[in-house]
């Protein structure tokens, strides 16, 4: 399979009057089409910076990002970015929230409205179409946030610890829920997290970042047998503990 995303020698530093902080140094990796790629690393290793770079919100200091072989700047590929919290706007209804991206891009018409309604129906939110976000549970809110991201038909999904604000039980359920949705839609997805179990339960491959400045320590494939696809099933598979220990060691080494 060809590379969907190619990152080469990416460097980024933050500048303040007090000095310069290098956040990322020489990051290189490839993500294949339809792959669920997970980036783990200690807190403060520049994970969120990396996603902002991939999303084009900030410019890299050096290095390149290419999508389908086209450099990031010239690419028309759409990046879907899901943030840590759902950030649904309290003053808008659920429908007006999920249509936000289309509204900004002036693509909200009869057809796209119908499509959104269909998505709301598929993900069990249609009855909350005209409700305010405050009436939804944490899991439903996160699902609405996913629909908002998917509505723009992104080529690549970027997920920035999208479950970290939820309580543990909801977190397991929503993680199961969302990753199944992404897998059935066959989207290329990049998830960043500091939760190893979460990483192993959803990933095809896991990239381990070192602490600041973030650099690639290793990329570890985590294949599971075919019947273990859903995250909750994976957590009970025998391979799970093995991968966990392997990545744990990787994170702890030479720190």
């Amino acid at each position: 399979m060809k590379s969907k995303l190619e990152v080469k020698d990416l460097c980024y530093s933050y500048h303040t009057l007090e000095g310069e902080t290098q956040a990322l140094s020489n990051i290189s990796f490839n993500v294949k089409e339809g792959e669920f790629f997970v980036i783990v690393g200690p807190s403060g290793c520049g994970k969120s910076t990396l996603l902002s770079l991939l999303c084009g919100l900030i410019e890299p200091e050096s290095g390149t990002i290419a999508i389908d072989g086209v450099p990031g700047k010239d690419s028309h590929a759409v990046m879907g970015y899901m943030l840590q919290r759902d950030h649904l706007f309290e003053w808008r209804t659920i429908f007006d929230n999920v249509s936000l991206g289309l509204e900004i891009n002036h693509r909200l018409d009869e057809g796209s409205r119908k499509e959104l309604d269909h998505m709301l129906d598929t993900y069990g939110l249609l009855q909350f179409r005209d409700a305010k976000p405050a009436q939804l549970s944490g899991g439903m809110r996160q699902r609405a946030a996913l629909i908002r991201t998917l509505a723009l038909k992104p080529d690549i999904l970027l997920l920035d610890e999208p479950f970290s604000a939820l309580d543990y039980q909801t977190r397991l359920e929503v993680c199961d829920d969302i990753s199944s949705i992404i897998r059935t839609q066959k989207k290329t997805a990049i998830l960043i997290t500091h939760d190893l179990s979460e990483a192993i339960s959803v990933a095809d491959r896991i990239l381990v970042l070192s602490s600041r400045p973030g650099s690639v320590k290793n990329v570890i494939p985590v294949p599971f047998s075919d019947q273990c696809i859903r995250p909750l099933q994976r957590r009970n598979a025998p391979e799970f503990t093995m991968y966990f220990n392997q990545i744990w060691k990787e994170l702890r080494d030479h720190d």
């Binding site: 902002s52 999303c55 919100l57 990046m79 970015y81 943030l83 840590q84 919290r85 950030h87 706007f89 309290e90 003053w91 808008r92 936000l100 991206g101 509204e103 900004i104 891009n105 305010k132 405050a134 908002r148 723009l152």
Partner: protein, 266 residues
């Protein structure tokens, strides 16, 4: 609906009684104050020529209501207050948005705004009379100058505290600064703008009265100055009473619309 439980009924009854007591006490304070004032004036304990008395004030009001002059003066003050209030809200929001949009502009203007905000605006009024003349324009500009600088600073500070992640969200969806303004900044700042309006309406009234003291031929401020100069204390106190009522009504109107707005948007 099922019948509420016994303890709930008891709680409701208690709460109702408490509210009733508060209401009775409130009215008592008012009646008592008027009664003591009137009695002292009648018995000659205080000089009613200087302190006036409730009955004389009421009489003065009836006389001026008959020929309509009091409504004219109240109307003038109300009109000036409303015009300056809308101008303050408009200028305040527009200027705060401009300062938010341009970091350079806000940094350049900050010291000037701080200075203008802390300057006692009554000092400007004589200058305004010379510039604009002895008319309503001066009163309105004086009122705007009292409220507008504080309003700009408060709104700008509020705007700058907009959740940066919500701005990131808009940008990740391909939005421009204009989208950030119309889809996040303004909607999320409505509660702030409304609560700022509550402060502004009071400040505008202060500004209008200052303006009328110095340069007007109509309005409650003019009546107060005129009455003190010719020693008509009934007229003076009555104007103050009407001013009390006016400021309370204006405040309540905004507070009520704030409540309705929040109900609709929660």
């Amino acid at each position: 609906m099922t019948e509420p439980s016994l303890s709930q009924q008891e709680f409701l009854a208690k709460e109702k009684q408490h509210r009733l007591q508060v209401k009775i006490c409130r009215s008592m304070v008012f009646v008592l104050l008027l009664a003591v004032w009137e009695l002292c004036a009648q018995l000659g304990i205080i000089d009613s020529f200087i302190f006036s008395s409730p009955i004389k004030i009421w009489g003065c009001f009836l006389k001026m209501a008959e020929d309509g002059t009091i409504f004219f003066h109240t109307g003038v003050t109300l009109l000036e207050t409303l015009i300056s209030f809308f101008l303050v809200v408009l200028i305040g929001v527009a200027a705060a948005v401009a300062l938010w949009a341009s970091r350079g502009l806000s940094e350049v203007l900050e010291p000037y705004l701080v200075m203008l905000n802390s300057l006692p605006k009554s000092a400007l009024a004589p200058l305004l009379i010379v510039w604009l003349g002895n008319n309503m324009k001066t009163v309105i500009v004086a009122a705007v100058s009292v409220a507008v600088f504080g309003s700009i600073l408060t709104l700008h500070t509020g705007f700058m505290q907009t959740d940066p992640d919500k701005i990131r969200l808009i940008r990740s969806l391909g939005g421009t600064k204009r989208d950030i303004l119309t889809k996040v900044l303004i909607p999320s700042s409505i509660p702030l703008i409304v609560s700022n309006m509550k402060v502004n309406v009071g400040l505008c009234l202060v500004g209008v009265i200052i303006g009328e003291f110095l340069s007007a031929r109509a309005g409650l401020g003019y009546l107060i100055i005129y009455a003190s100069q010719v020693f008509k204390m009934d007229l003076l106190v009555m104007s103050i009473v009407i001013l009390c009522i006016l400021s309370t009504v204006l405040y309540q109107v905004i507070a009520e619309s704030e409540k309705r707005f929040l109900q609709k948007h929660r």
